[in-house]
Amino acid sequence: MKKVIVPIGPYHPLFEEPEYFALYCDGERVVDVEWIAGYNHRGIEKISESKHWDQITFLVERICGICSTSHPIAYCNAVEDLAKVEIPERAKYIRCIIGELERIHSHLLWVGLAGHFLGYNTVFMWAWKYREPILDIMEMITGNRNHYAMMKIGGVRRDIDDAYIPIIRKILEDLKPKLNMLTNAVLDDPVLAARLKGVGVLTDKDIKEFGALGPVARASGLDIDVRRDSPHAAYDLVEWKVITQNEGDVFARAVVRLLECFESMKIIEQCLDNLKGKKGEISIDVRNIPPGEGIGHYEAPRGECFHYVRSDGTGSPLRHKIRAPSFNNIPTFKASCIGETISDVTIILAGVDPCYCCTERAIVAYDVNTQKKILDGSDFIRLSQEKTRKIEKEIGVAPSRWEEKNWERDN
């Protein structure tokens, strides 16, 4: 039997980092997956050892552009655990607000890209358009669209002024119906359901073995969420619930992500209520970090961020270990891709949300024996989009005119 290796990456639109996957295929079926990383390895753990405790919040922010407040929160949690300090209440609410705003924009980003891979460019444009108001809020309260630099050991760096609160509320109110529309459009679509249901299934046993986290775990029925299980910031002071699904397929992951956006809005609104009209400290002074070790974690949009720090009492850490959620989520491809067809692989890889980055496709498929090129990057997305069109025909739904036009132009 002739096996074909299909390399995905290192430059591929699915990944935040240039990352490399080798798919071993037998005909249409995938029989094995191998992950080769390191194209984006910047040695942050080592650089961290040469920076001051305060500077590291800026460094960890730049691990990932989408979770750019989750890492600082996890890091601050770790140092606060080490130094045994409790942050002021107002700071807790502000941390929550920033964290949840980030979750909404990150999930919308995912929905958009997933739509693109399925050939639904409308979803892509919608989702990214609705993401902009969130970035506007961020720019208003923190000064930057991404990389907010809000976290600080012992609290937060900036206060949220009372004057901003009604504006934030207004933006969120306006966003809600649109988000509702988007959610319904995605979840009620027969084509998307046919395309995503039963694809890339992960059982709860797989999840436990690989240690997968976040929406991936919750879509497989595992009820874990660090925000609830290990209360920090203000998550135990507000009302919200953890969204879980049992199917474990890509569709369930989409459901979890979309519904989580609404929970996040709930949290933000309650936090704003608690900030309004009150005054208070936003941070306490933490001057010396005592010797010892500390662990902090935070539920980033993709799962648990984990930071371990060790101090010897000097100005910078002795060791700083960072574990991002995708590190545990990506190896689940070994369980979810095997046995699926090549045209589904794109969306399965995307379903885990492995931190996207590049827009460009540089996947090339080589025949193992002849080394001849058989598929390339755009082919992959084309395969995926073709499958959607086929299902559309079977179900008897006509693609929108706009989609059709684009489809013809692109091919």
């Binding site: 984006n40 040695g43 650089i47 989408i66 750019s68 827009t359 460009e360 540089a362």
Partner: protein, 140 residues
């Protein structure tokens, strides 16, 4: 003469190829943002190319890690000339806070020649558009 004609044609509609060489992906998202309804650079005739062989401009983000340099060089060679290289973000311009790292091979201008630098971490989409406009104006 041939070249200037080509350049003239080039100015009308730029095809950009986006390449990340070890970034935090925020710059990459902001590049994508330029394509979405709010900024919509397609109205200027700028569009994302699917392959570097169709591209006029290489948008590069990230510090350029040791593992990436060979690929960056290769992609640069494959780009049809005349072509331009834009370094986006502090990482690509200077190395930023990663300059001391053990996998650092950049900044970008050590690897390939760079025409435009757009600093910022990440630069706002407006800044990127402004950078591209400056590039267009500089083509003579």
């Amino acid at each position: 003469m041939v070249l200037s004609l080509r350049k003239k044609a080039l100015k009308k509609s730029l095809f950009v190829f986006h390449l990340s060489t070890g970034s935090c992906n925020n710059c990459d998202i902001e590049i994508l943002d330029c394509l979405t309804p709010r900024f919509d650079i397609e109205r200027f005739g700028i569009t994302l190319a699917g392959s570097v062989k169709h591209a006029d401009v290489l948008l590069v983000t990230g510090i350029g890690t040791l593992k990436n340099i060979e690929r960056v060089k290769k992609l640069y060679q494959q780009m049809p000339k005349p072509g331009f290289v834009v370094a986006i973000g502090s990482c690509a311009c200077t190395g930023g806070m990663f300059r001391d790292g053990y996998t650092m091979a950049g900044p970008l201008d050590k690897i390939i020649p760079v025409d435009v630098y757009i600093p910022g971490c990440p630069p706002k989409p407006e800044a990127m558009i402004a950078g591209i406009v400056k590039l267009l104006n500089s083509i003579k």
